[in-house]
């Protein structure tokens, strides 16, 4: 399972990129997209939404189920991946690249350090697999 070392992870299977000017990119992990199956629809937050860590901010719908996506950190949504509207399969094909969900201007960049690193997240996946 592809779990890049450069990213941080939430226990609820979102990944968080390294911040650039306080902005992180968020998506779901390769493990999560594999568990969901073929993604058919994504409901994204609105740019400008202020979200708190743990808020349900998006929905990823697969042929099997619909799952909430939680904000891994507190901040403001600065961009969403509109391309997913017509090509939700990008989440399955490239969860860490074209399949990103939204960008977040985080209130406290240091809070990212509180998320799981790749090794810890790998352990979570093994537990749940």
């Amino acid at each position: 399972m592809d779990i890049p070392d450069t990213l941080r992870y939430a226990r609820s299977h979102e990944w968080v990129s390294q911040p650039e000017d306080g902005v992180v990119t968020v998506g779901i992990s390769a493990f999560a997209q594999d568990q969901l199956g073929d993604v058919v629809f994504v409901e994204l937050p609105a740019v400008g939404d202020e979200v708190a860590a743990g808020d349900a901010v998006a929905v990823v719908e697969s042929v099997k189920t619909a799952s909430d996506i939680y904000a891994p950190l507190t901040g403001t949504i600065t961009a969403v991946n509109d391309a997913l509207e017509n090509a939700p399969e990008r989440i399955n094909e490239a969860p860490y690249e074209d399949g990103w969900l939204f960008r977040l201007q985080v209130d406290d960049p240091a809070a990212r350090e509180g998320l799981l690193d790749a090794d810890a997240y790998r352990a979570v996946c093994e537990e749940e697999a």
Partner: protein, 446 residues
């Protein structure tokens, strides 16, 4: 269908989990006299006595008496084939099936229903129908709030008062604001304050029978970033511009005029049809066409991730069934009548309603007019309209739906005609009005 009830063990575990000692404890908030009231029922009867009793009750039915009552539910022609086909035992269920794909016939009929509603409203996506027109209006408001992330609903006073009551009930526990727009000369003016509105809801024809300028209202809603909800009489769409043509985002309404008997006020069905952009927010069930493994045409419930059994508490709506048989009856009826038959019924309705208004005016009654109307119109009367309706019913005519004071028309009733209204019925109405002492010169003008 087989039902497996909870075992005593299941019940005990559930009670333990929520910390309740007994099932009865869960109802402790309900006053005891309401929970288990003494029912004043007659003694049991044997089958022979019961049949006699029911026949005696049926003989009192005056369903064939001339009727001028409307307000969303009217008597229309139902060809014999409609009742015959809709009452096939394979179809007689109140619900969309819970194991839907084994019931291909019901799903196909529902797919046809959705196609008909889509064609009638000029909007692409119809759900499998809803409970009634009023709850469909409320669901449209909820949909608009989800889609726009706003919590202000602007609704015309021309929307049926009972639909607005249901809307208030549905929105009661939400952090939502309902603003009612007063009518001006029986019609809805373009509201001045649409800022922050999730939806503008307008009924056409409105509760006073008057046609609204839907395109201007839709434009105003869109200019404010609100959705436009068009509450329509489905039969009127055979001759009026469709919600799709005037730019509505959501069309809802009461389906009864399309082919459901009056049935003492229900069950009927509601409908909801939306633009493609809103499909993921659509409440209720949705049937789609597909192919099976052998490439044969088949039908499935589709986009179910919106619904309760998958999304639980985050479902788009708590509606999980509909009035399937009533919707199916309308489907058969519309198929039997065809576009030509529907148009004839709608035109007959307009013709008879206008002839009736002219006749009443000719006799000196005060019909309230302000512009084009479809099947009904207000008429001022000289006494409490509820008393008048009771008196008329005793005189053998059902007429005079009371119009509430909010319309500012004084003592006034709604008078309705359909393509079934005969000249003899109109004569009977005039005779009944005279017989109960309702004479034109006594109407208080105001």
């Amino acid at each position: 269908m087989r039902y497996a009830p909870h075992t005593e063990e299941d019940v005990r575990r559930a009670l333990d989990a929520i910390g309740a000692a007994s099932v009865g404890e869960l109802f402790a908030d309900v006053p005891a006299e309401l929970l288990d009231p003494e029912l004043d029922l007659p003694e049991p009867m044997d089958e022979v006595a019961l049949m006699d009793h029911l026949q005696a009750l049926a003989a009192r039915d005056d369903a064939r008496s001339p009727s001028f009552l409307g307000g969303g539910v009217r008597r229309h022609f139902l060809p014999a084939v409609t009742r015959h086909l809709a009452m096939q035992s394979e179809f007689v269920t109140a619900y969309t099936p819970y194991q839907p794909e084994v019931s291909q016939g019901v799903l196909q009929a529902t797919f046809e229903y959705q196609t008909i509603m889509s064609e009638l409203t000029g909007l692409p996506v119809s759900n499998a129908s809803m409970y009634d027109g009023a709850s469909a209006v409320a669901e449209a408001a909820l949909l608009a709030m989800r889609a726009t992330r706003r919590d202000r609903i602007v609704v015309s006073r021309g929307v049926h008062p009972e639909s607005r009551e249901v809307l208030e009930t549905y929105l009661h526990a939400l952090d939502a604001e309902i603003v009612v727009v007063d009518l001006d000369d029986l019609a809805t003016p373009v509201p001045g304050d649409l800022d922050g509105a999730a939806a503008l809801i307008v009924q056409n024809p409105n509760h006073l029978g008057r046609l609204e300028t839907m395109d201007a209202l839709a434009d105003a809603a869109h200019a404010a970033g609100a959705l436009f909800v068009s509450v329509v009489d489905p039969l009127s769409l055979a001759i009026l511009r469709t919600p799709g043509e005037v730019g509505a985002d959501i069309a809802v309404g009461e389906g009864q005029p399309l082919g459901v008997p009056l049935q003492y006020g229900g069950p009927h069905f509601g409908f909801m049809v939306v633009t493609e952009a809103l499909v993921r927010q659509l409440p209720g069930r949705l049937v789609g066409e597909t192919r099976d493994v052998d490439g044969r045409r088949g039908f499935v419930l589709t986009l179910q991730a919106r619904e309760q059994h998958i999304r639980r508490g985050k479902a788009k709506s708590n509606i999980c069934s509909n009035h399937q048989l009533a919707a199916l009856m309308a489907t058969v009826n519309v198929a039997a009548l065809g576009p030509h038959g529907l148009r004839e019924m709608a035109e007959g309705t307009v013709r008879n309603a206008h002839a009736l208004a002219d006749r009443l005016e000719g006799e000196g009654y005060e019909v309230v007019r302000s512009g084009p109307f479809f099947a009904e119109f207000p008429m001022r009367v000289s006494r409490d309209p509820r008393a008048l309706r009771r008196d008329l019913q005793r005189a053998g005519v059902r007429a005079g739906l009371p119009l509430p004071p909010e319309y500012g028309l004084g003592d006034a009733v709604l008078i309705t005609a359909t393509e079934l209204t005969r000249p003899a019925d109109v004569d009977a109405l005039l005779a009944a009005l005279r017989a109960v002492g309702e004479r034109p010169e006594e109407v208080a003008h105001g």
